[in-house]
Subunit: 105 residues, 2 copies
DNA sequence: CTGTTATTTTAATAATTGTTTAACAATGGA
DNA sequence: TCCATTGTTAAACAATTATTAAAATAACAG
């Protein structure tokens, strides 16, 4: 994953409505949730929600599948994990570090 | 850490120059790097750099200390780790999930 | 004190982003 | 077919953000 993709993913999550959408999908698991349910749960208009879904999809953070008239969205954990790995890679130049830090302490 | 702080931290990192600054500080460890060195390494003007340092500091992602005429910046891993925890908490409603996912598989 | 280096601040401008409204598809039931 | 439901798209507008240039602050050396 290159820095451009990381910026895209971070930017997608760096917005209150999109972060709420993503968290909802992370918690609800692999079956996902229909767009309308998300709209109702978060009190967001359909057009606004669609705009944000598009943004999150483009970043690779969520995926969608159509089922009849409904579109189900679910979180894609792979991109998230790559993003987290990028942020913490090679910390402290490989030396053991004494900062409160999961990967280096 | 509440969602507002998470959005602030994500937004701080969701910009190419700031992500590069943060990564540089993550890699260089607890002693940090002087502002001027960062400016030179990333070819960013001092004013622009100062703007981005301010943004990252406000998000709690970096800290600074003055040493003579120099200002040293270093990464604060605590905020990063809280942010990562927020993003992945309670995934898949607590059920074991079969997605490629560090925390749930 | 004067001049130089290191960094921050301010003001102005250009670019990007989020929301709304309205119109547009596509699915499935009567 | 006709209609209601589900969701997406397009255009317009307001708000936020990044960059530049210039001025300001702060620390030190001579």
């Amino acid at each position: 994953m290159d820095s451009g993709q990381v910026v895209t993913a971070l930017a997608a999550l760096a917005q209150p409505t999109r972060l709420a959408i993503y968290r909802l999908l992370v918690v609800c698991g692999k079956d996902g949730m229909a767009a309308g349910q998300v709209a109702e749960k978060l009190a967001v208009s359909p057009a606004t929600l669609s705009f944000h879904f598009r943004n999150l999809s483009h970043a690779g953070l969520i995926e969608s599948r159509q089922a009849g008239r409904f579109v189900y969205y679910c979180a894609n954990f792979g991109v998230m994990n790559e993003m987290l790995a990028y942020l913490t890679a090679n910390c402290c130049a490989g030396e053991p570090c004494d900062l409160a830090h999961d990967k280096c302490e």
